[in-house]
Each structure stands twice: as C-alpha cells, then as structure tokens.
Symmetry: C2
Subunit: 256 residues, 2 copies
C-alpha cells in the first residue's frame, strides 16, 4: 500500500514511521513548512513537497494530519482522485471530505505523540470511520497492522473522546508542569515526583478515579487547603488550585 | 524495632504492612474509629485500641498518620516518653512535637496510597527530618529499609513538595475522573483512555512537561477550544477547561 502524508507534525511523524515499520510504503510527504517536510522525508527516505498541487496521484491512501484550524482549507485545495483519503483529527467530522472526494474516512489514534519520542504503537486504540463499508474494512486493516486495537466510532462520539483526551492528557501534563514549577522555585529536583506520577496513572488500572482520589480536597481539609492557597503567589495557580479543589469536593459529594 | 501506629488510614495501612515485610514489629494500632483499628490490626496481627491513653509505652517508634486537621490535637493528648515520635504529614511542620516529646521527627513518603491497592515501595522517595542528628540517622535507616530512596528535607521545603504533589497527583487524578465522566455520558468505555494516560505519565521521564505538551491549548487552536467549550454542559467543567487552556497558553508564551 502506497501512502502520501499531508502534514509533518507529531501525529504524521509517529504514524508514518510506524507505517513503514509494518511494510506500508510512504511515497511522499507534504508540509506547508519546507524544513518539516524535509526532516520527515529524510527519516522516511521519500519525496517531499510544499505544494498541494504537486501531490502525486500514484498512491492508495492519503493521510492528512494538519492543524484542525487549516484542515477544511487543505481539503478544499486537493485534486480529487479514486484513492482513499483520511484525516486523523479527533474533533473534526468525516464529512469535511463530502463533495470533494469519493472515498474518505477518519483514522484517529487516541494517543499523545511527539516528534522526539518513540511510542509503542501496539495496543493504542485506533478509532475509524469511513464513507463506505468497503473503506471501513480497509481502514480496519490498516489500524490492525499499526496497533492491533481498532474500534469503529462516529464523528459525533469521536469528538467527545477527543475532549476527554484533552482532560486526561493535555490538562494532566499541565498539572505536571505546574508541579515542576513549584519545585523549581525551591530547588527540589522535578524527578522526585516521577514515582508519584507513575503510580497515579497505574492506580486507575485497578481503581476508578473516584476510588483512587486522595489528598486534602477529597478529605475537604480546609486547614490544608487554605494554607496551600496562601502559599501560591501566582494568581493563575491559585485559581487552578481553588477551582480543582472545589470540583473534587463536588464530585465526591455527588458520588456519596 | 517495635512500632506503634497512630492512625489506620491509607498511609498508615501501606506503611505498616511494608514495615512488617522488612522485619519491623508493629505492636499496636490506634484509631479513633474502632472498625478501622480492628481491620488494620487484623492485617498486621497485633493489638488495637481507640484510646490514646491506652497506647503501650513499650515501643521504639511511634508513627502518627492522621488527618492534618487533627494532628496537633492528637499530639497534645500523648503521654511523653523517651521513644522516637514521627508524623507523616507533608504539610505539617516537625515542631508540632516541640515541648511535648524529647525525640521527634517526620517521615514523609511522596506517594499516593490507598488501603485497597498494594504499591511497590522500593524507590518511593522518603523525605525525613528529625530534631537531633542521631534521630535523623534512625529515620534514614528506617526509610532505607522501606524504600531505599531517602532524602533530608526541612519542614519548609516539604510543604512545597506536598503542594506540588497535590497538582501532580490529586489534580491529575481528578482530570482522569472528569475525562471518564465525559465518556460515560456517551457510553464509551473509560479504559479506552488508559494507553493515553500511561503514555502521558511515561513521556515526562524523557521530555520536560513543556516539551511534552500537546493538544489544542498549546497550539492555541481557538476553533477547537471554542467548539469544545460549547460541548461542555457542566458549568464547572467549562470553567476548568477555560482556566487550564489559558494557563497552558500562558506558560507556553512565557517559555518562548
């Protein structure tokens, strides 16, 4: 299967490297930014371009991984052909392709990808959707090869899944950032937190987050909460602390 | 070494079970709540009481793991003796013992503990502090036996460490809870998020949280941010989303 990549960011990088690993042939990389296109094509040993008009028509699958903000615009500039076109955006509907392509779908890997970090692809949940049952089958085969963990999901539900992922991943990582910032101010090495962070993640394989919750907010220990609020000098961190402590307490009260 | 436990909650449970595992002898458990005292003493096969006045004086180490809100009150009721007295509270100073005991200190494990979940104790960072160098040495030995990862830390710095842990663990777990709630509303199994949650934690062993950050807020993708805000019907979750997205964007701008 010959693949063209449209985009050379985090998702495009990790997916295309995995595709080559499982025997798919990436023939061309497009990126708006020449340096990104060149870098990724170098890792893949394939052609690259910064012009959508120069995309080869000789591929079976076109994978679009660009910022959501420009996805519709990019699709609008594509030359239609009989190949299968997919995007990888959690929040964007499949029907962006409607009227533009005959065969289209979505291939959404639920994972956080960075160019600089290899991640084990086996087991990552891939959520697929396609315009026809035949192309659902094609995308299931692709995802099966990439990760072995495939599920069908509508655009409507995928958008909720992506929102949940923002909480579970992006906001979580920001909690790590804020914690690290506090430690840096006191000269305590940030890696002291790693065993705690690992166990916090590991714990919810066994307990629900409600059962796993510990700390001053779940005990509604006003004494500690007020002392900790007073320690925070950054007004934004104070707001985060206050809002999340209230939210934890509220969830706990509702679950009782 | 003979140990008396004052408290039978999450921390007391996991620490005392580990103490027995490494050959320390837990001789008595106190809890305000009879059922908790009885349950833990059953797991440890030792005596229990609900009266502080009935604590045995025949121990070398008294470990106090009670809610921060009642810690000072509990210490005020203790009969002084020549043994070593420690508490395990991240946010509370060591000098709560001053004037009450001759020998005292703090043994603070930086981890999230639940009664129902065994956690690997090797490698958990223990932060210790004691009134005399001799008792620093005793507590270092104890922590060395329990985890092998021991550091000295003042009450002042420990309080910052505990605040950082609230962000890295308690608030992180709450992000998992909110994500799970969103999925439950759509009938999507919460365990779909586990590979993402695991990778989010694993990632910061290699990259800093600033380097690891992905998602709409770091790209400041207003299109996605506004659509996701509109999807959130719970006003509290909307506030959390808004505040954290702004905070991510602000940190990123400062780091540039």
């Amino acid at each position: 299967m010959k693949v063209v990549l449209i985009g050379a960011g985090n998702v495009a990088t990790r997916l295309s490297l995995r595709m080559q690993q499982v025997g798919m042939e990436v023939v061309q990389v497009y990126s708006h930014t020449a340096s990104s296109a060149e870098l990724l094509s170098g890792r893949l040993n394939c052609a690259w371009t910064t012009e959508l008009a120069e995309l080869t028509s000789e591929a079976d699958l076109y994978l679009i991984s660009v910022k959501d903000a420009v996805l519709a615009e990019v699709i609008g500039q594509l030359k239609p052909n009989r190949a299968l076109w997919v995007h990888t955006a959690g929040s964007m509907p499949m029907d962006l392709f409607e009227g533009q392509m005959e065969r289209y779908g979505v291939l959404y890997p639920l994972q956080t990808f960075s160019k600089e970090r290899a991640v084990r692809m086996e087991g990552i949940p891939f959520f697929v959707e396609a315009h026809t049952p035949e192309d659902v089958a094609v995308l299931c085969q692709v995802a099966e090869a990439l990760s072995g963990n495939v599920q069908l999901l509508s655009s409507e539900k995928r958008r909720t899944l992506h929102l949940a992922a923002v909480f579970a991943c992006n906001f979580t990582n920001h909690m790590y950032a804020l914690a690290g910032k506090l430690l840096a101010e006191e000269g305590i090495p940030a890696d002291s937190l790693l065993p705690l962070i690992d166990e916090t993640a590991a714990k919810i394989h066994q307990l629900s987050p409600a059962e796993a919750q510990t700390g001053p907010a779940i005990r509604y220990d006003k004494n500690v909460i007020n002392k900790q609020l007073a320690m925070l000098t950054d007004p934004d961190m104070k707001s985060v602390y206050q809002l999340l402590s209230q939210s934890i307490h509220k969830e706990a009260t509702q679950n009782e």
